[in-house]
Assembly symmetry: C2
Homo-oligomer: 367 residues x 2
């Protein structure tokens, strides 16, 4: 049995357990109910150990005895049952939108009237299991791609296992449901570089950054999707690779890195499964804008407002370097994109900028 | 020499020619100038043969003798010269954003002040050469992916040629610069299905639609990018594969199909290189919404406005089926997403819906 199959069996049992709890209650003539971790603001707390938002101890009781709850309670069981089948079969992954439409076949009393209803129930199940919805085969929009000397093993829709080395793809392997959960069977790289923009990702591929830095390159395509955050975490946790995040030089770019490092308040119930606390932000930092004399734009009101918010955010509190960079932006009143490094030619980013930054961050091979 | 290298040599000569024209003028003591096809509204005409917008015969003269033109004239030559090097080297592709930043190194008199200036010059060169900018290695944002039994041959950044069969990728090959221009070395499929949403693309992969219909599946991810339109056109033109486009059931979905078939007014100067006039729209049609009793939403004012615009659009004028569907939407006042077919189960779209539609459209194997 592959690791993935073992894990699926485990999740299958967890989902089955939900049904068994209900069955026992019914047999005891109890009104069936489930205790679900509360995802309300007053139960989202900052965990100083994991440096991310997590849920507190409060729970909500979803009960068939409450007329307002009876429909969502039944819907939760239907969704859990559907996911149990998806996990057992192992072949299919559905989107949240598909789930909403599938409910149409459950009849007019059970079907979801609006998608926020089904989304809410998916989050309930995530919180119940302590697992992101990808694990119960409800997958997010694919976004981003991965390139470099790593071999992925995944199950094809026809049931056969396949291997792909990401170097043997023209523009990287897109991060869809099968890539997201693929096993890592061989990896020669010793670090991960996650890149905000498509343009810089392509630049690093074309300048052979993956060879020069012995790195896996990940294209975030802006804010990282959950699937991408998950694959980054697995590369860090399973293979022990340090992770470096290369973004535009503005508070929004920095926060793209922070969500990879510490998750978001919205995903408090599963942040521990998604966040990579020891990932490091390369830049472009506010200091880099000055040091490298980068072409820049003036910060706008909305940027200054964002900086103020981030300065107060608990995720930034402990990191003196990031606090200092936030302050520096306020001082220089400028932002720059990562492509601005192109003013020094195509090779500058791999020959000068990244080596200097890796030295600063004590990356493997640059200590 | 590979076909790609032959083509690059051809484009290199065309770019060199631009410089030679200027040189000759200077040697004759003429003030140098270039005649560029006009991309103004009054020069965009509808070509009833190609069923797409093209440019008329009007030209604009960019001259070094006009004080307002001298800077953009010199910039055009700088960009053409840069592209000549990119095409010669064959390894690098740049984004329009990168081009803007590269100009920083040309000095304060020549650098672009804003990106629209460099974008405009790129379009001038496209119009001059009659080629899309991908051919001069200025690539669009990667978007979409390709899956199925087709082998692509492409040049790796390290200069070596590689082959990848798109079936041997976990979630399809993402359509970036190298995929976009890859040679097709082997293809067992006999048709192309282009799909609007990520969700339905994944559904078709997981239900083995590529095997059942002997098809290449292309994920558009919404409105098709230029790179995706180009690869669709090449599959149609080079391999002779018929193309079917599967979208949501609303005027926006239909227009996604239309832009693949007939291009847009904005790309009139290169539509002949991007459009696939004999591609066919599968649906979801307005009639399908009724026939398959799909879960639907009410059309909004903005949808009705769009329908009115499309009814007048010359690209729709000749196609009675599309005109009838536009009228039908106005009648039923409803729209539906392609995922709405999930109400009949996971397999319905491949076992019932698509076979019925392929029969209607006389696809290979369904005649």
């Amino acid at each position: 049995m592959s690791k993935k199959e073992e894990k699926n069996k485990d999740i299958y049992e967890k989902l089955k357990k939900i049904g068994e709890i209900i069955l026992q209650q019914v047999r005891k003539n109890q009104v069936p109910y489930l205790k679900v971790p509360a995802r309300t603001t007053n139960n989202i707390v900052f965990d100083p150990k994991y440096l991310c938002y997590v849920l507190g101890d409060k729970t909500i009781t979803r009960s068939a005895g409450n007329i307002r709850h009876v429909k969502p309670f039944a819907q939760l069981l239907k969704v859990a049952s559907l996911c149990k089948e998806l996990v057992k079969d192992g072949k299919r992954h559905i989107t949240k939108r598909e789930l909403y439409y599938i409910s149409e076949s459950w009849g007019s009393k059970l079907k979801f009237d609006e998608q926020p209803e089904s989304d809410d129930i998916v989050e309930d199940i995530e919180a119940l299991l302590g697992l992101p919805r990808e694990d119960i085969h409800i997958t997010p929009k694919p976004k981003g791609s991965i390139y470099g000397d790593i071999t992925l093993r995944f199950k094809n829709p026809n049931g056969k296992y396949m291997k792909v080395n990401c170097l043997n793809t023209a523009d990287g392997q897109s991060i869809g449901p099968r890539t997201c959960e693929a096993e890592f069977v061989d990896c020669k790289a010793d670090k991960v570089i996650a890149i905000e923009t498509d343009g810089m990702y392509n630049r690093l591929i074309e300048e052979n950054a993956h060879e020069k830095f012995n790195a896996i390159l990940i294209n975030l395509g802006g804010q990282a999707s959950r699937a991408t955050r998950r694959i980054i975490k697995r590369l860090n946790e399973v293979l022990g690779l340090p992770v470096y995040i290369f973004t535009d030089g503005d508070p929004w770019g920095l926060h793209i890195a922070m969500v990879i490092m510490a998750g978001s308040a919205k995903s408090a119930h599963i942040n521990k499964m998604l966040a990579t606390p020891d990932a490091q932000w390369i830049g472009v930092t506010a200091s880099d804008i000055v040091k490298y004399k980068l072409r820049s734009d003036k910060l706008k009101d909305v940027d200054f407002k964002r900086i103020k918010e981030l300065k107060k955010d608990p995720r930034y509190k402990k990191d003196k370097r990031l606090q200092e960079e936030l302050r520096k932006w306020e001082e220089i009143k400028k932002k720059a994109e990562q492509q601005a490094l192109l003013k020094y030619g195509f090779r500058y980013v791999v020959d000068e900028y990244l080596p200097a930054k890796f030295k600063e961050l004590k990356a493997p091979g640059f200590k």
